[in-house]
Every structure is written in C-alpha cells, then in structure tokens.
C-alpha cells in the first residue's frame, strides 16, 4: 500500500487537490482510502465518500490535531492495509504551523496557495520545510510572474522539494502530481517509523485547562517575551 501524508494551512486546497488525484488514480483502477484529521469539524469526509473511496475521519477537539494524528495514524495505516487499499492518503490541516504530521521515509506533501501572501512560506514550520512535494494551488487567480515569485519563496525554505502548481478546481497539473504519487513509499505498517520533526512540548497550565490570566496561574513550561529588547536606544 502506498501511503502519503498531505498537510497544509486551512483552506489551502488540500481536499480539492486530493479529489483530483483520486479521479486520476481511479482512472487507473486503483483502490483508495483517505483519512481526514481536523480539529472541530469537517465535511471533507462526505466529499471523499461521494467519490466512492474508503474514508475515516478523526476530530481532535481539545488536542493539537497533529499530536492527535501521531497517536492514531498507525492504526489508520493498519485499517487501510486490511481493507486492501492500494493508496492511503491522510489529510490534516496544519493549524499551529509548528507541528507537522510528516514521517521519515513516508512521502510527505504540503499544499499551500498562491493567495496566502509572500511571507507565508517563511512562517510555516516543518510541515512545509520538510515536505518532499510542495503543491501550490490557486494559480488561476494570479499572473504567472506572481506564481513564479511565490514558488521562489517556497523554494527558498525548502530547496530540495519538488514544487508543482496544481489547480484544485480544473485539475490542471493533477495528472502530473499523480504520477509522483505512484512513486510514494510502499508500506504495510508504520511500526518503527519516526516523525520527521519533534512536536513542541505543550505542557503549561493552559494545556491542562487553565483559563485565568495572571502570573500565579502559570505553571510548567512557560516562556516570557522580552519586552525590554531594543527599547534602550
């Protein structure tokens, strides 16, 4: 079973791109499973189900969705394998920009869109910077020069990645992307695999449900901004 982790900022076009890839894979008569991870709510599973692929969804609620992802992905892979999927795709929304679902030796894809602003590639952490393939969407809305400038910004933070433009609506580029999926890592289980990058320790009192503001309520892993810095001159 070929397994790929797909992540990206909210509404960047992950589902649209995956749907276009599913169409191309189905034309090759492949059996596909999708697992969707989100925080509070998602209807993406319905869109996938409509395509006739196997779907599971997981909502992390109060947890960071990427932490929730790691605790569950191994059993999802087993599920996909037991159901004879030839491709298993996980979609997760990158919400905290510091966590990332990407796993070593598992093909990692980040979806980011041309409208998100020229500074965005710098702001996204390992989810973008450690991906093997970066898909840039919504190129239909901007000029080709702007697409090139945006792609060069992506290249700056992840120069080793394959960078592709895909249109999530018309599917332009999806065919080409699918041929990269055919080279994705072929696995049966995630046993023994490790994350590409550690996830931040979320261990302050607020992680544990604290809501009151004030020094006396802050315990655990707390860090303070330096408000004096640079104010001397």
């Amino acid at each position: 079973m070929r397994f790929l982790t797909i992540s990206g900022p909210p509404s960047s076009g992950k589902t649209s791109v995956i749907l276009r890839v599913i169409e191309a894979l189905q034309a090759r008569e492949k059996k596909i499973g999708v697992v969707k991870f989100d925080c509070l709510l998602t209807d993406d599973d319905k869109l996938y189900a409509k395509k006739g692929v196997l779907v599971k969804k997981g909502l992390s609620g109060a947890l960071c969705p990427d932490h929730y992802f790691v605790s569950n992905i191994e059993s999802c892979v087993t599920w996909g394998h037991e159901n004879n999927c030839e491709y298993l795709i996980s979609e997760s929304a990158g919400l905290c920009n510091r966590c990332s679902p990407h796993i070593k030796e598992i093909t990692a894809v980040c979806v980011i869109d041309n409208l998100s602003g020229i500074g965005t590639p710098r702001k996204i952490g390992p989810m973008l910077k450690s991906a093997d393939i970066v898909v840039i969407t919504k190129g239909d809305i901007v000029s080709q020069a702007e697409r090139e400038v945006f792609a060069s910004r992506v290249k700056q933070v992840n120069p080793g990645a394959i960078i592709m433009n895909v249109n999530g609506i018309t599917g332009q580029g999806a065919f080409e992307l699918t041929s990269l999926f055919e080279d994705a890592s072929d696995i049966e289980t995630l046993k023994g695999k490790v994350l590409r990058f550690s996830m931040p320790a979320a261990l302050c009192s607020y992680c544990l449900g604290e809501t009151r503001i004030g020094e006396e309520h802050q315990t655990g892993n707390i860090r303070k901004m330096d408000l004096q810095e640079g104010s001397a001159e």
């Binding site: 190129g139 702007e146 933070v157 120069p159």
Partner: protein, 335 residues
C-alpha cells in the same frame, strides 16, 4: 564558484556579495550579523535549542542550504540550447491516432485553435510536462530530437517553458517596479536594476495607456498587466519555449508584443481565436476532440488580408477611444 567556497567565506562578505544567503538563513528565523567568522563556523555554532524552537533540525538546515546553493549556481549556468521541439502525435479523446510528427524551431509562432474543451490547454500542458506517452493524449515531446533529461520536468532553474496564462491578476501588495525587481531577484539575473528599467519601458511601449513605475500592480488595467507580463517574459525568462493561453487582446499592441517575443528566439505556441494573431503565426494547429486534426500553414493570400484586418482593428480602437473620452457614436462614417 563551487559550493565549498561559500562555506569558507566570511559572514561579512556573504552579507555583501551573496545577499540571497542571508535571505535564506533569515527565512528559517535565524539571525545573521556581519563578522569575520566563516559561514561554516556560523553553522557549526548555531544554538541547537534555538533550531528546535524554529522547527528545523541541524541536519535539515545544512541539507537545505546545500540544495539552495546548488540551485543558485545552476541559475547562473547558461540554459542548454534548444534547436528544435518535436511533437509526436498520440491519440484524440476517442482513441483515434493523430499520426503526425511536428518539428518546431526557435523564432516560429504556432497558433492553436479549436472550440472550448477541444484540448488546447492539454496540448500546452503536454509540452510543459515534456510528455512521454504518460498523459491522457499519449503524446511524446522531444527536445533536439531526443528524449530530454527529466530535469526539465521539475526544476525551477531549467524551466523549458514559460507560460503566459489567461489570468493576469495580482494579489501582492507591491508597486510595478517592486514587483518586477522581486521577480528579477528570484531569477538572480545580473544587473537587476537595468533589467527592471528595461521591462517597465518595454511594457509602456506595449500598453495602450502609460503607467508609472510606482503604480501598485493591483491597480494596473487589464492591458497594462498583460503588457507588463509580456515584457517580463521576454526580458527575464531564459526558457526557450513560450506558451500563451488565450491572451485577451484589448489594450495592448499585439504585433509589437509578438515581435518582442520572437526576437528573443523563442518557440512560441499560442492558443488564440484572434484573427490578427492567428495570421501573424506561421502555422495553425486545429484541435478537435482532443487531437491535432489539421495543420494550416498561413498562406500569402491570408497574410495579405492582415492589412485589412489591422485597419478594421484600428477603427474599433478609435471608437473605443472616443467612448473613453466621453464622445458619442452617432457618426462613425469617418473612422
């Protein structure tokens, strides 16, 4: 210059001579200050806890820097020369073979015509992807008579094809000059300031209405953005093949625009239904049901009509200007 030389350069010199390395490091959230320490020393002494906070591992940072420098060096390499582009036919949507082998040379302009949905964009995409029988049309594309290196497919440095798409909108909050400068810098061109000035001047020659360098790109008119993108493509792009997908023709001098691109010795493929552009092309590929159905060489008789067409076009242009200046159109005999 080879990569190892960068690592032996002092940070002070790096900041002056290779600002893109500073840009690279700051894009990971690192702080860079001028000093006599070498880049190697800088990397060896990075605070590992800080890297962890920034979400990058030491190993990954070094690998990325290596990849980045390799890409940068490749940008300054000359492009391999493209002497010919060959399209070997595949099949149309019903599986009927195209049975053709089409050879295109630099300086040629090929128009692609056919109804919506017939497969014009697919043909352009086949060329961009350097298809090898692995697209829905099963076409094959050869460069200089050979199956090209797969570096053409994914590399941003060796892009075979520059594409001018239907959409010319901008979302970035920059002036025309800043935008073009940023584009030039991303291409690492020598003497970017000169190139920027050249592009702005050229764009103003193509555009019906002039614009100042400090005009925000988001407030350029349709014609002005198209003019800017064509000048940008002609002057900045090293790609030997230019694809133009249904460029709208209002507000821009099409003949000059095409001449500008041809003069750069590119192979130009253009999806268009504009009769003037079609007649300026050397050949027209007629697309039907996903396949190249017919090839029409522009004839002398057709070319003669170009003069008449241009006259008609100028008449419309004059009328458009009258509307713009608040005139009325009761009397149009004189135009």
């Amino acid at each position: 210059m080879n990569i190892s030389e960068f690592f032996l350069t002092s940070m002070a010199d790096i900041l002056v001579d290779h600002p893109y390395i500073e840009d690279f490091l700051t894009s990971f959230g690192l702080i860079v200050k001028p000093s006599d320490d070498t880049l190697q020393h800088y990397l060896d002494n990075l605070d590992q806890d800080n890297l962890e906070d920034l979400g990058v591992s030491d190993e990954q940072l070094r690998q990325s820097l290596d990849d980045f420098l390799t890409g940068m060096l490749a940008l300054s390499d000359p492009m391999d020369k493209v002497e010919s582009l060959t399209i070997i036919g595949g099949h149309d949507k019903s599986g009927k073979a195209e049975n053709l082998e089409l050879n295109l040379k630099p300086g040629e302009v090929i128009c692609i015509v056919g109804p919506t949905g017939s497969g014009k964009s697919r043909l352009l995409a086949d060329i961009e992807w350097v298809a090898q029988g692995d697209t829905p049309t099963s076409r094959k594309i050869l460069i200089n008579g050979q199956v090209p290196d797969s570096k053409w497919r994914f590399s941003t440095e060796y892009k075979l094809v520059a594409q001018l798409s239907q959409n010319m909108n901008f979302v970035m909050d920059l002036s025309a000059e800043e935008f073009i400068r940023m584009h030039a810098e991303s291409r690492l061109v020598t003497d970017p300031e000169k190139k920027v000035a050249q592009i702005l001047q050229q764009a103003n020659e193509l555009a019906g209405e002039q614009f100042a360098p400090d005009t925000p790109v988001t407030s350029l008119s349709g014609g002005q953005s198209r003019a800017l993108m064509i000048a940008d493509m002609a002057i900045l792009s090293k790609s030997p093949i230019a694809l133009i997908d249904e460029i709208e023709n209002a507000g821009i001098d099409r003949k000059k625009a095409l001449d500008l691109l041809v003069q750069e010795e590119k192979i130009i493929l253009m999806a268009t239904h504009d009769p003037i552009l079609a007649l300026m092309g050397d050949r027209r590929l007629v697309i039907k049901n996903g396949g190249i159905d017919k090839i029409i060489e522009s004839s002398e008789e057709e070319r003669k009509n170009l003069v008449t067409l241009e006259k008609l076009d100028n008449k419309l242009l004059a009328l458009r200007n009258r509307i713009r200046t608040g005139d009325t159109l009761e009397h149009i005999e004189g135009v």
